[in-house]
Amino acid sequence: MLFSSIDFIFRFLPLFFLCYFVMPTYGRNAVLFLGSLVFYALGEPFYILLMLCSILVNYGAARRMAAARGAAGRRVWLAAALIFDLGALFVFKYFDFFAANVNALAGRKLLPFLGLALPLGISFYTFQMISCVADLYVGTIASPGTFLEFGTYVCMFPQLVAGPIVQYREVSAQLKERLLTARQIEQGLELFCLGLGSKVLLANKISIFWNQVQGIGFSSISTPVAWMGAIAFSFEIYFDFWGYSLMAMGLGRMMGFSIPRNFNVPYMARSATDFWRRWHITLGRFFREYVYIPLGGNRRGGLRTTCNLFLVWALTGLWHGASWNFIVWGLGFFVLLVLEKNFYGRFLERHALFGHLYVWLLVPVSWMVFEITDLSELAVYLKQMAGIHAGEVMVGTEQLVRYLKDYGWLFLVCALCATWFPVRLYRALKQTWWLVFICLAVFWLSVYELHQGAANPFLYFRF
């Protein structure tokens, strides 16, 4: 079930919060745990077994690890948990990709395809469990708490399907006891409304344009239209993901959790390095803390650092999906980061204008690498962006003018909302009636839009 669906907002959420607030504090974890299971089961009735199984295995390993005396015992349980988690992730997410590549290399059908559907949120909850188990191993946290606490941590529905990737130590205290004030509920609701607006009013709207470009076919578009498409997709993915993260934060706060921030105005970054400090912060943090630093980080010489970075970015790419374009995408950032680290990073940080232009130029290109799974199609698109047209350009100036007329304002609004402006406005209007009014308007407008589209793209895809 999506957060941005009428069913979630008007059925699941009121019912859940009714149960949650009626329940005395000691029972709230149970309500949240069960509610989250219901939430998951509504979208994924079968794979919920996989998730429960993962929780049990990881909790068992975590308990054993907390009880084990020697380092050897802890290592065994860590290995067990990791093998299970990564194994499940490999089988469900990467096996077919792996098999396809092995078969291609071997030149014959060596491995069969499993054709498994990707379990909802597996990439996120697996990482959360890994982070908890790893923290236990290192000793950052001492105990995984009760089963209910651990289970609630893994599958609490605000962050279950699309993050942020919360670390256990951030919420362990709140899982035991959390203070809930009216003010917090109010703030949570504000965040939820604004997140909903970001998803429904900005991301969904601008996705229409990107779909249109895809529908035309990449071989027929002109260079400006190709750039407009890339920019539209950049806005779409940002407002979609940011909106979702805001909603997660808001829902968390309404229950007394402080879910970490996932985005910090990424499109105002001054370099690719800076961009990744601001984009999907919790994922970057995961790879830094659990891959990069354990490998030695940057303390073992330049070559080792570069190797570590390479691995981290190949994995970051792969995490986003089982396809070569994601790996290319991740490695593209690896190249940029290495270049920035060794050559022009300082320059960009110092000269804001160049930094911004650099990011605004590269980010849309990188998102195209991310979005277009088929490598030959991707090549066509990048060529169109570069102005190398192989075929006849059918969508040229005439259509461009129309697109600008139809979507120009939307691009402007998106651009404005991708700057510091909304964040500063939010801070400035805190605790005023203006903010209430804005949130209210955004909320009901979003609901209206959702109602019109009835949670399906029919409105957007009118034939």
Binding site: L189, G217, F443
Partner: protein, 363 residues
Amino acid sequence: MKKWKRAMRQCPLAICILCVWGVLAAGKYLPDLKQQAGQRQAQENAQEVPEELTAYGAYGGALAANRAPELTREELAGKEPELLPEGEPEEDASAALDDGEGAGAGEEPQEASQEEVPGEKSGGAKGGAPEKVKPEYITYDKKKTDSPYYTDPGKIPLTTEYDYVKVSDDYFDDAVFIGDSRMEGMEDYAGLHNTTFFAKPGLTVYDLLDDKFIKDADSGKKVSIGDMLKRHTYGKIYLMVGINELGTGGTDRFAQAYQDVLQKLRKWQPDAVIYVHSIMGVSPAKDKSDPVFNNTNIRDKNYAISKLTDGIHIFYFNIQQLFEDENHALAQELTFDDVHLYAKHYARWTDYLREHAVEEKKQ
């Protein structure tokens, strides 16, 4: 009171949202109840609705909730009694159109008023009057369907047989192209520049003539296709519509509406050749997964459309054949969204039109 004031100060947003929700819910729930009562009444009145159809009322309702809430729900509620099992009314209706045609074609096509007098058989076989060309079909084994919107016709109509000629692009100078988003694709990518397009995404046969979406160059006002057709004279009318309304009522109702449109076109443009396009199919992926927007439904509608053509004034183009795979579905590699062609493939369509022109209208 004090408590309320404090709550209002602390969570104004929560309270506002709840209040508005309460009001809206109340406002929505009451009409819903009324509508349900009306629907029950309508169902009770409609004795002749066969059992399967009433059974699918619920299914249709669920679909409606999923798909296009307002439209379909209302249509279903209001129109269910009209969904008769076999296409009798549409046969009658097409006969009525033929009569009008025959009478009109005999002497004075301009005398469109004759159309208002159905049932009067006059023209038909008279003197040198042209004979109606019946559409030909590819037949296949019907499949059982369980939809309130369509049945499997078991037939795919072919392009009307005629000695078409090849023409150059100036043939389209006095043509008008009317249709939905796929006709709009034609407008954008087919390379016909010196012609008129009235195309809009989401256009249906039900609002085709009345939807005011055209900006009139003279007055600057928004006008409808009907207005334009009344005002200007066109030599050829190319029409493709029907995919958006696949889930709005059954095929009979669709055929009736389509026929009404054709009658009006004939009335307003008696000298124009009308080329009716088949509704282009959807890709196999969509065909398999969609209970409404699938090729069986489209074939049912196409079969109904083809019966309204006569090969004298109204010609049927099985445009689907240009883009179909071996199962007569829209070939998957030609489309991104399972419905629309990639821009570069529209050229095939234009070529087809260039090769299929009715040069002189038969008198």
